[in-house]
C-alpha cells in the first residue's frame, strides 16, 4: 500500500516536472518571440541603445512573474500588452467574482481576448496560495519573503584577433584584452533588493576584481506600505509617455502593432543592467498610494568628447573606453539631476506631472552640422510635462505634453480601443518641435531616443478570426520639419507592416510578415562638368518573411524561416538579399537544453543586410546583422546540474564566401570567418 502510494506520488511528481519543464521552454520561446517582435527594427544601430535593457526586463519579468491575484495597477501595467483599462478589469474581476485559479481564466475578464492572454501569459502567475500573511517590518521574514540570492559570471570573446588588438594603444589600438567579462551579484525579495553588476567590454582594461570599466549597484526597498520605492545607488527613471524623462527599455514600432505607442511609465527602477549610460546615481523615492510623489537626486560622471578644456559634446551612449582617446575621456563630465513626478489615480484614469533640472560641470556644445542646429548647448537644462491616461468607454486615451527650458515643446497623444470582440485599434499623433530639447526623454517615434524634430501619425490594427488567425498591421507617416541626421533639409517618409499569423494546431503555427519603409534621403551625383550636386530621392527598404514553428513533441521545437529583403537607396539601384534558416530547440532532459541553428545569407550589399535574432546566454541580447554571402551556425547549451546552479555555453561561427577580410577599422579581422564563444554560470538560491 505504502509502495503503491509512493509510486503514485512519484508519477505525479514526474508528470508535474515534465509539465513544468515544458511550460518553461514554451515561456522561453514566447519571451524570445516578444523580444524579436519588439527589437527587430530596420536599423539596430537605433535600438542597441536599450535592447539589452529590454532583454533583461522581459527575461526578468518571466523569471519573476507578476501575481495577478495580488498585483496593483502599477505592477499590472508593466505587462506587455496590458493597458489601464484591462489592468483595472483584472482587479475588479478578482475582487468581485473570484480570485484566479489558473492564468487561463484571464480570458474571462472583459476585454481580454486570446491575443492579449497569449501576450501576457509568460509574465504572470496566480501565486502558490501560500503567500505569507502580513508581517511586521521588524520581522526578518518580512524582508526575506519571496527572496532569492543570485550571482552571475559571464565570459565572452571573439576567437579571431581584430586589428585593434594588433596595434599598440599608442598607435590607436585597444588598451585591454578582447574578453568581455560580466559579473553580477544580488539579493531580491518582495521588499528588498541589493545588487552589484560589473562589466568590461572587449578592448577595455580590467585593472582588478573591483575595478571593472562599468560598475552599477543599488540598495532598494520596494513595496513597503506607502513607500512604494526607495533606492540608494543606481536607478532608472521612466514616467508617462517618456517625453520628459525615460531611461530604460521601451517598446517601439514592431509586430505588437496595437500596444506600440502607449507606454506605462515604470517610475523608479533599481538599475542592474550592463548598459553603461542609461541610468542615474544617487537616491530616489516614491511615496503614496493613489496619490504618489516621486523625488530623485543624481550626481554622476559621464563620458563625452572633449572640445577644449571647459567644453565637451553631449555625452555619448555607447559606454566604450577601449582606446586611449576613449579612456582619457572617461568620466570627464559631471551631470547632476534633480526633480520629481506626481501621479494621481482618479476613477477614470491617471494624471501625472514630471519635471527636472540637470546641470553639467562643463559647457556642452553641439556639432556644427545642419542637423544639429537645434541641439542642446549650455550647462543646464530643465524640462517638464504633464501626462494622462483616461478610460473612455471601450477606449484608453493617453498622452503627454512637455516643454524644455528654451521654450520648445513636444506632445504625443493617442487612443487605443477595441472595436467589438475581435478588433483592436491604435491611433496616435506626435509632434516634437525641432527646438524641443528633452535631452533625457525617449518618446515614441521613427527615430529612437530624444524626441525632437518629428511629426507623425500612427495607425495600428489587430484583428482576430476565430481561434486560429491573427492579422496585424500598422502604418506610420512621419515628417522631419528640419534636417535630420545625415541630411540638410526637411524630409518625410512612411513605414508599414502587415502580419498574418496562423495557429493551425496547438503545436504548429506560421506567419507571413511584410514590412516596408520609404523615406527621403539625400544623395550626391556629379554633373557633366564634374560638379557634385546633392539631391533628394526615395530610400526604400522592404522585407518579406515566412516563419514556421512546430513543436514536434514537448521536447523538440523546429523553426524554419525565409526572408527576402529589397532595398533601393536614394540614387542607387535596386538590390536584393535573403536569409534562410533552420532552427532546432531540444530539451534533452529536464536539466539539459540545446538550441542550434544553421543560416544561409546572401545579400548584394550592406543595404540589403538581414537580421536574425538569436537565443543566447540569459540576459544577453543577440541580434546578428548578416550581409554579403555566407553561412552562420550556432549552438547554445543550457545545463542545470543542480537546482542552485545553471550553466550556459554558446558557440557561434559565421563563414563568408569570397572575402579575405571581415569588418572594418579596429574591428577588422583577417580571413573569411568570425566566431565567438560565451559561457555563463548562475548560482541561485
Amino acid at each position: 500500500m505504502v509502495i503503491r502510494f509512493l509510486l503514485v506520488l512519484g508519477c505525479i511528481f514526474a508528470f508535474s516536472e515534465v509539465g513544468y519543464a515544458q511550460q518553461q521552454d514554451t515561456t522561453r520561446s514566447e519571451v524570445e518571440d516578444d523580444l524579436e517582435g519588439a527589437i527587430e527594427n530596420f536599423d539596430p544601430g537605433d535600438t542597441n541603445f536599450d535592447s539589452e535593457q529590454l532583454t533583461q526586463f522581459l527575461q526578468e519579468l518571466a523569471e519573476n512573474p507578476i501575481n495577478i491575484n495580488q498585483a496593483g495597477v502599477n505592477d499590472l501595467l508593466q505587462l506587455p500588452g496590458l493597458n489601464l483599462k484591462l489592468a483595472r478589469a483584472i482587479i475588479k474581476y478578482r475582487s468581485d467574482v473570484k480570485p484566479f485559479e489558473t492564468t487561463d481564466e484571464l480570458d474571462e475578464v472583459s476585454g481580454i481576448g486570446r491575443v492579449t492572454l497569449e501576450q501576457v501569459r509568460p509574465y504572470i502567475t496566480v501565486g502558490s496560495g501560500l503567500e505569507l500573511s502580513r508581517e511586521l517590518y521588524t520581522s526578518p521574514r518580512y524582508w526575506t519573503s519571496g527572496g532569492h540570492f543570485q550571482a552571475f559570471s559571464r565570459y565572452q570573446r571573439d576567437l579571431q584577433k581584430a586589428e585593434g588588438y594588433e596595434q599598440s594603444p599608442q598607435e590607436g589600438g585597444y588598451i585591454g584584452s578582447p574578453v568581455k567579462y560580466y559579473q553580477r551579484i544580488g539579493y531580491q525579495s518582495d521588499h528588498l533588493s541589493v545588487n552589484l553588476t560589473q562589466e568590461k567590454d572587449p578592448g577595455e582594461e580590467l585593472v582588478g576584481p573591483f575595478q571593472f570599466d562599468h560598475r552599477t549597484w543599488h540598495v532598494a526597498l520596494e513595496d513597503n506600505g506607502n513607500v512604494q520605492m526607495l533606492v540608494g545607488g543606481d536607478y532608472s527613471l521612466a514616467f508617462g509617455q517618456g517625453l520628459v524623462l525615460w531611461s530604460g527599455a521601451a517598446f517601439g514600432k514592431g509586430s505588437n502593432v496595437v500596444g506600440a505607442v502607449s507606454r506605462n511609465g515604470r517610475g523608479i527602477k533599481p538599475y542592474t543592467s550592463a548598459q553603461e549610460t542609461n541610468y542615474y546615481r544617487g537616491a530616489a523615492v516614491t511615496y503614496g498610494a493613489r496619490l504618489q510623489f516621486t523625488g530623485f537626486y543624481s550626481n554622476r560622471y559621464r563620458s563625452a568628447s572633449d572640445i577644449n578644456a571647459d567644453t565637451t559634446r553631449f555625452p555619448g551612449t555607447d559606454g566604450y573606453h577601449r582606446t586611449e582617446t576613449e579612456f582619457l575621456q572617461k568620466n570627464n563630465l559631471q551631470q547632476k539631476l534633480y526633480g520629481g513626478h506626481i501621479q494621481w489615480e482618479i476613477p477614470f484614469g491617471i494624471i501625472g506631472a514630471t519635471g527636472y533640472q540637470t546641470i553639467f560641470d562643463r559647457y556642452i556644445t553641439a556639432s556644427e552640422q545642419t542637423y544639429a542646429q537645434y541641439d542642446f548647448e549650455g550647462t543646464s537644462n530643465y524640462a517638464y510635462g504633464v501626462d494622462y491616461t483616461f478610460i473612455a468607454g471601450p477606449a484608453i486615451i493617453f498622452g503627454e505634453v512637455g516643454q524644455s527650458e528654451n521654450g520648445g515643446y513636444g506632445l504625443v497623444s493617442g487612443v487605443e480601443s477595441s472595436l467589438g470582440n475581435d478588433t483592436d485599434i491604435t491611433l496616435a499623433y506626435r509632434n516634437y518641435q525641432a527646438e524641443f530639447q528633452s535631452i533625457l526623454g525617449n518618446g515614441f517615434g521613427e527615430v529612437s531616443g530624444q524626441p525632437k524634430n518629428e511629426e507623425g501619425v500612427y495607425l495600428g490594427m489587430r484583428h482576430t478570426i476565430g481561434a486560429k488567425v491573427t492579422l496585424s498591421a500598422y502604418i506610420d507617416q512621419f515628417r522631419f520639419p528640419t534636417a535630420r541626421f545625415g541630411t540638410n533639409q526637411p524630409t518625410q517618409g512612411f513605414d508599414w507592416l502587415a502580419k498574418a499569423e496562423f495557429d493551425l494546431t496547438d503545436s504548429f503555427n506560421f506567419y507571413v510578415q511584410l514590412r516596408s519603409e520609404i523615406e527621403d534621403d539625400e544623395y550626391e551625383i556629379s554633373d557633366s562638368y564634374g560638379r557634385v550636386q546633392r539631391r533628394l530621392g526615395d530610400a526604400e527598404r522592404s522585407s518579406f518573411r515566412v516563419n514556421l514553428e512546430y513543436w514536434v513533441n514537448p521536447k523538440v521545437r523546429l523553426r524554419s524561416r525565409g526572408e527576402i529583403v529589397r532595398s533601393q537607396q536614394a540614387g542607387e539601384d535596386l538590390e536584393l538579399g535573403y536569409l534562410l534558416y533552420q532552427d532546432l530547440r531540444l530539451r534533452i532532459n529536464d536539466r539539459l537544453r540545446l538550441d542550434t541553428r544553421v543560416s544561409m545569407f546572401d545579400t548584394e550589399s550592406f543595404a540589403t543586410r538581414v537580421y536574425q535574432f538569436e537565443s543566447d546566454l540569459l540576459y544577453v541580447f543577440s541580434s546578428q546583422s548578416l550581409f554579403d554571402e555566407g553561412q552562420r551556425i550556432y549552438v547554445l547549451l543550457n545545463y542545470e546540474p543542480f537546482d542552485f546552479l545553471e550553466l550556459w555555453a554558446k558557440f557561434g561561427l559565421t563563414v563568408y564566401e569570397d572575402t579575405q577580410v571581415v569588418g572594418s577599422g579596429l574591428n577588422r579581422v583577417e580571413g573569411d570567418r568570425r566566431s565567438e564563444v560565451g559561457v555563463q554560470a548562475r548560482v541561485r538560491f
Binding site: T505, F508, V552, V556, L558, S560, G562, S599, D602, V655
Partner: protein, 281 residues
C-alpha cells in the same frame, strides 16, 4: 545554384573535350551529382521531406527507413555521355537503437573521378526524426595530377506535422571541410528545407528550397501519382538551374525499380536518363 550546375556541366563538357582532344585542361571546380536516386531525380530533386525514400543516405538522413532492410543501386548518364556517369549504392539496416546506413558513390572516369563513402545513422522519438552522415569524399585526377580527400558531416531532421504533411531540413558539410592543404578548396555547403504533402491517397507533392552557400537560392518541386496498382508516375522541376524531369516506378514486395529522365535548360545538352533498383531482404 544555376551557376554551379552550369559550371559543373561546363566542366564536364570541358573534361569530355579534353579527353577527345587529348588535352589535359582541368578546372578546379569538381562536383558530382548531389541528389541520388531515379525517383528523387524524377520529382525534381525535392527530397528534403520525401519519406520512404531509398536514397536518404544521399538526401536527408533523418528520413532513412525504420522498417525495411534494403540495398539499392543507381546510375545516371548525363546527356548520354559515358564519360560523365554517376553510380551509387546504398544500404539501410534498421536496428532497435536506430537505422544504420552505408553508401558509396562514384562519378567520372579514370581521368577525373570523385568518390564518396558514407556511413549514416538515424533515430526518432515521439515523431521527431534526426540523422547524421559521415561522408568521406575523395577526388582524383589522372595523369599524375594527384588526389585529395575530406571528411564531411551532414545532419538532417524531419517530423510529420499531420500524417499527410512532413517537414524536413538538412545541412551538408556543417564542419566546413576542405580538399587538400594547399588550395583549401571548400566542399559545397547546402541548407535545404522541404515539405511533402499527400494531395490525396494516390498523389504526393514534394517541394524544397535549397541554398548552397555559393549559389543562388533554388526552388524544387515534384508530384508522384499512383497510376495503376503499383505503377507510379512522377514529374518535377527545379528552378536555378531550370530543369524538368519525369519518370516511372514499379514496386513489388521484394524489389522496386525506378526510371527517370531529366531535361536541362541548356537544350544542346539533351536528356539524362537514370535508373535505380532496390532489393529488400
Amino acid at each position: 545554384m544555376i551557376r554551379k550546375l552550369i559550371d559543373i556541366h561546363r566542366f564536364k563538357l570541358t573534361l569530355l573535350g579534353s579527353v577527345l582532344l587529348g588535352i589535359s585542361g582541368i578546372s578546379s571546380i569538381v562536383q558530382a551529382q548531389a541528389v541520388i536516386g531515379a525517383r528523387e531525380l524524377a520529382v525534381g530533386q525535392a527530397t528534403t521531406a520525401l519519406y520512404n525514400t531509398d536514397w536518404s543516405m544521399f538526401g536527408n538522413p533523418a528520413l532513412m527507413p525504420e522498417d525495411e532492410r534494403a540495398v539499392s543501386f543507381f546510375g545516371v548518364r548525363y546527356f548520354s555521355l559515358a564519360e560523365i556517369t554517376d553510380m551509387a549504392m546504398s544500404v539501410a539496416y534498421p536496428t532497435t537503437f536506430g537505422t544504420l546506413g552505408a553508401g558509396a558513390h562514384r562519378y567520372g572516369d579514370d581521368l577525373f573521378n570523385e568518390n564518396r563513402m558514407r556511413l549514416g545513422y538515424k533515430h526518432s522519438f515521439s515523431g521527431f526524426h534526426f540523422g547524421a552522415i559521415l561522408n568521406y569524399s575523395h577526388v582524383a585526377m589522372g595523369g599524375g595530377y594527384g588526389s585529395a580527400g575530406a571528411l564531411g558531416i551532414n545532419v538532417g531532421l524531419a517530423a510529420s506535422i499531420v500524417s499527410d504533411l512532413w517537414v524536413g531540413a538538412k545541412a551538408t558539410n556543417v564542419n566546413q571541410p576542405e580538399y587538400g592543404s594547399l588550395n583549401n578548396e571548400k566542399l559545397p555547403r547546402e541548407l535545404s528545407i522541404g515539405f511533402s504533402y499527400h494531395l490525396s491517397d494516390i498523389a504526393l507533392f514534394t517541394t524544397d528550397v535549397v541554398k548552397d552557400v555559393q549559389f543562388p537560392i533554388s526552388y524544387r518541386g515534384g508530384v508522384e501519382v499512383f497510376i495503376i496498382e503499383e505503377l507510379v508516375g512522377r514529374a518535377g522541376f527545379t528552378i536555378k538551374p531550370l530543369t524538368f524531369s519525369g519518370g516511372f516506378g514499379y514496386n513489388s514486395e521484394l524489389w522496386t525499380v525506378n526510371i527517370a529522365v531529366q531535361r536541362h535548360e541548356n537544350r544542346a545538352l539533351g536528356y539524362s536518363p537514370a535508373i535505380d533498383f532496390k532489393i529488400l531482404w
